[in-house]
């Protein structure tokens, strides 16, 4: 895919303003940056239309009833790791799944309502996926920082 979309310092300054407050009005942003509201509006729309920017509400895991967060590294054997990852990604508890370099082949973020959901998830769901040699969990006991504001952006669906 050719990607000749480019941004300048003004675009990046607007993005910074939106990162700290996504609901700032065009006028507030314009005042902070010494621009006109019309310029701010045009710049934001241009980046949104190119699927380079989304200004959104992010919600906390707990708003969705998830209170346990863990990272799960998976070692694959006898099956392409991308197939195993694609199958694991179907589970709603699997929140993120990446193919990675190193000792393990797949790295996932998994969310649970509480620890009593763990046996079912590991022993009845994940264990049915063919090709998993081992699973190595790391349970989050405290999250100090969580700022994933760069991500693959989907095209906006016309709803």
């Amino acid at each position: 895919m050719s990607d000749d979309f480019s941004v300048d310092d003004v675009d990046l300054a607007i993005v910074e303003q939106l990162r700290s407050n996504g609901r700032a009005t065009n006028q507030q942003i314009a005042n902070n940056l010494g621009l006109t509201a019309a310029t701010v509006s045009t710049r934001i729309r241009r980046m949104e239309d190119a699927d380079k920017l989304r200004v959104v509400a992010v919600s906390d895991f707990s708003a969705h009833g998830y209170n346990v967060l863990m990272e799960l590294a998976i070692e694959v054997d006898g099956r392409p790791a991308s197939e195993v990852a694609a199958e694991l990604a179907e589970f709603p508890e699997v929140f993120a799944a990446h193919l990675v370099t190193g000792r393990y082949d797949i790295d996932m973020l998994v969310v649970l309502r509480d620890f009593s959901d763990l046996p079912t998830l590991l022993l009845d769901k994940f264990s049915k996926v063919r090709g998993i040699r081992s699973m190595m969990p790391a349970i989050a006991v405290d999250v100090l920082k969580y700022k994933f504001d760069v991500a693959p952006l989907e095209a906006r669906s016309p709803q």
């Binding site: 707990s62 708003a63 999250v143 969580y146």
Partner: protein, 163 residues
């Protein structure tokens, strides 16, 4: 941590705002059949409870951060909080959690060049007193990712308190 008690209207608001945070309260109120005051009050409460935050998400490649790495760190057990806080203060670190497992700190970063990643892990993180071992693994393909559901930390709340 608070136990979230959300009703249908809260969930509808979260869904609408997750698509586009810049839609006006008046438009949301009209679409959901409630008053503008209700929308404003609900949004304020959800923000104050740390359940939602408004931010901008940019696509990979818009700025100089195109790849992601997982950084597993073994650090002193007795002062892991302090070590973790120092690492979280590094601007290039996007997320950091204290974990129970093969590492006691797990960090995530976005990087553009391998040199930048090595500088971060080998020069910056490994030099912090109390850090014993650092293991890096690079995400080569993302199969699933939802940037809109996150852990809203104290750091985020302090940023969002404006307005």
């Amino acid at each position: 941590m608070i136990a979230a008690q959300l009703d249908d209207l809260d969930r509808q608001l979260i869904e609408v705002l997750a698509r586009d945070a810049r839609v006006s309260n008046r438009k949301i109120a009209g679409d959901l059949g409630v008053t503008e005051g209700t929308v404003r009050g609900r949004i304020k409460r959800l923000q104050q409870d740390g359940l939602i935050a408004f931010t901008a998400i940019t696509s990979f490649g818009l700025s100089n951060t195109s790849k992601m790495a997982f950084i597993g760190i073994q650090a002193n057990v007795e002062n892991v909080r302090d070590v973790a806080a120092r690492i979280a203060d590094i601007p290039q670190i996007n997320a950091l959690m204290i974990t129970m497992g093969r590492f006691n700190i797990l960090a995530f970063c976005l990087f553009d060049t391998l040199e930048a990643l090595i500088e971060l892990t080998s020069d910056q993180i490994l030099a912090i007193p109390g850090v014993h071992h650092v293991e890096t693994s690079i995400a080569v393909k993302t199969m699933k990712y939802n940037a809109r559901v996150v852990r809203i930390t104290e750091r985020d709340k302090s940023i969002d308190d404006g307005d």
